[in-house]
């Protein structure tokens, strides 16, 4: 019984056979958190007491033979999901002492399924970043190389799974925040179709883009997690009223004849030569499994970054207006008057990147500039969506790299904002279009993991998960263990 490399599916078998109890499994992960998290910094808040109580309850359910696929499985939650009575910070000084008064739908669903929450994971402040260096609680270190970033914004969630400090985790993805850290940490990460998972209780960054998703050790685990996370929610009017397929039942479908779109634009951009070579190697694996590679074009992909950095800041400037230092969150000392209270509380409570994006968004929405910036970006967004609609008339899945490079050094890009934004150059277009996309491990470059991005048609997560699963049956990149957390 190798717990370090075990997937949710394997842990399920261990628990059901009685090889280990949920309490013992929970203590195994809590012990690993004690041993490794001083250097990794993946958890902002640990919930050991409630985790042990949940584990005791899970063991009773297992003994009754009523376990779901997640009963007794210890997971971590990105610190963007509210859990009642638990500190929920969004990685910000603004919410450093905020105790959520209610629980996110995603967290409720996972808890109802019997998953055990070990704690809340570190992240870029308000999910704005690609390295986890924008956290008030300090940077997360990549368990593949402690001098490198784990990616972001779900960097703590990614590093925690990669280091074996939980069996799986939740993340959120606005422009690549699940897929990019999954790629840099050697994980499977899925951003579902916009609206597939409820956003209720998930602290908002950019509401037309934000989407929750699982971060796991395998595609099978992602399918298990998604089955429990997805579904309509009356509390979120954007959560789609569509049935949730049994994703795990669709994992063994033959991919012979599956049409895979390959967009040359992914390879013409600033893509590391070795990442490009590994991506082409992965495409050959898919071809050997019977998939057909078809060249496609996404003519407006080059404008994704520009559109995103108008739309996301615009929405963030509106969403973060709620932090006023009065009802909740940080308040400055000795305000002179009400305006001083607002201004200094926000100035001291938000970090630099968040303030920068609020200012960009405020400008893009301001009188005289709205049409030129926000209006134009929303029109370009339609063209980007249309590219995907046309591509999916020809192919079933689009495959390319997740990131231009493997994990970069801590501090290497901190001084150059736009250089950091380029990390998401391959992931942003799927976010703008709202289509599902995932990253799966596709090899090592300089002993660091890289990701293969699979982009699917609307609501067709099942095809993505099956394709990822078939790839993982033919390769073993997803089974590699991060060397700094053996």
């Amino acid at each position: 019984m190798n717990l370090r490399s075990a997937t949710i599916a394997e842990l399920r078998a261990f628990l059901d056979r009685g090889d280990i109890s949920a309490v013992e499994l929970t203590d195994y992960y809590l012990d690993r958190i004690d041993r490794f998290d001083k250097s990794l910094n993946t958890y902002i808040t640990r919930t050991a007491d409630t985790a042990r109580a949940s584990a005791i309850a899970a063991d009773k359910v297992i003994a009754q033979g009523k376990a779901t696929s997640l009963t007794g499985i210890p997971i971590a939650e990105k610190d963007l999901f509210c859990i009642e009575g638990t500190r929920t910070t969004a990685g910000s000084k603004m919410l450093a002492n905020f105790k959520a008064p209610y629980t996110a739908t995603v967290s409720t669903k996972l808890a109802n399924a019997g998953a055990i929450t070990l704690g809340k994971t570190n992240m870029d402040e308000f999910a704005m970043g690609s390295s986890n260096e924008n956290s008030y609680f300090g940077p997360v270190r990549n368990p593949w190389d402690l001098n490198r970033v784990p990616g972001g914004s779900s960097g703590g969630s990614a590093a925690a799974v990669a280091a074996g400090l939980c069996a799986a985790s939740t993340g959120t993805d606005t422009g690549g925040s699940i897929r990019q850290p999954a790629a840099l940490c050697g994980l499977t990460g899925l951003k579902p179709t916009y609206g597939r998972i409820s956003r209720w209780g998930m602290i908002a960054f950019a509401s037309s883009l934000d989407q929750a998703g699982p971060m796991t050790r395998s595609a099978e685990d992602a399918a298990i997690m998604l089955e429990h996370m997805a579904g309509h929610d009356p509390q979120d009017s954007t959560a789609l009223a569509e049935p949730v397929p049994a994703y795990t039942s669709a994992l063994n479908n033959d991919i012979k004849g599956l049409r895979i779109g390959v967009c040359q634009a992914f390879f013409d951009t600033d893509l590391d030569a070795e990442v490009a070579a590994k991506t082409r190697e992965a495409l050959r694996v898919l071809e050997s499994l019977g998939a057909k590679l078809i060249d496609i074009a996404l003519p407006h992909m080059a404008y994704s970054l520009g559109a995103y950095y108008v739309i996301a800041p615009a929405e963030c400037s509106a969403n973060l207006a709620r932090f006023d230092g009065i009802r909740y969150g940080y308040r400055c000392e000795n305000p002179e008057d009400l305006q001083d209270l607002y201004t200094r509380s926000r100035g001291e409570g938000f970090g630099q990147e968040v303030k920068k994006r609020i200012l960009v968004g405020t400008f893009a929405l301001s009188a005289g500039y709205y049409d030129a910036f926000y209006g134009r970006a929303q029109r370009v967004r339609r063209l980007i969506k249309q590219d995907f609609v046309e591509a999916f008339n020809q192919v079933d899945v689009i495959v390319g790299p997740t990131t231009p490079t493997p994990a970069f050094g801590i501090g290497a890009k901190a001084e150059s904002g736009v250089d950091m934004y380029l990390q998401d150059i391959f992931t942003i277009s799927a976010s703008l279009a709202g289509v599902p996309a995932m990253s799966i491990p596709a090899g090592l470059v300089a002993d660091l993991p890289i990701g293969l991005q699979l982009i699917g048609n609307y609501l067709d997560e099942a095809t993505l998960l099956n394709l990822a699963h078939q790839f993982q049956q033919a390769t073993d990149w997803h089974t590699l263990i991060a060397p700094e957390a053996p």
Partner: protein, 97 residues
């Protein structure tokens, strides 16, 4: 659209965003903001005259619910996170002298 922010616009935006305007950091802030606007200026090359804006990626109507009270706000729980809350009131500096 190739707009570059100047100090006056930065001051105005800071007021609108309720963020402090810090003259000693304005050059650095302006440089960072203008770098983003430079990135965004790539959108100028796209012909969008007859393209309607896309507000919702799936272009669906949001689901509606009956206009019924389904939950009540637990004001005591909400007040726990307020920096200064007493007797059912949020306290702020005096507004009217």
């Amino acid at each position: 659209m190739s707009t570059h922010l100047d100090e006056k616009t930065l001051r105005d935006m800071s007021v609108l965003a309720a963020l402090p305007y810090e003259p000693n950091q304005s050059m650095e802030t302006l440089a960072a903001l203008n770098e983003v606007l430079e990135l965004v200026s790539a959108l100028e090359a796209v012909e969008v005259d007859n393209v309607p804006p896309l507000a919702h990626p799936l272009e669906r109507f949001q689901s509606l619910t009956p206009d019924q009270v389904t939950e009540t706000v637990d004001s005591e729980a909400l007040s726990q996170n307020a920096p200064n809350f007493e007797d059912g009131l949020y306290f702020v500096p005096r507004v009217i002298e």
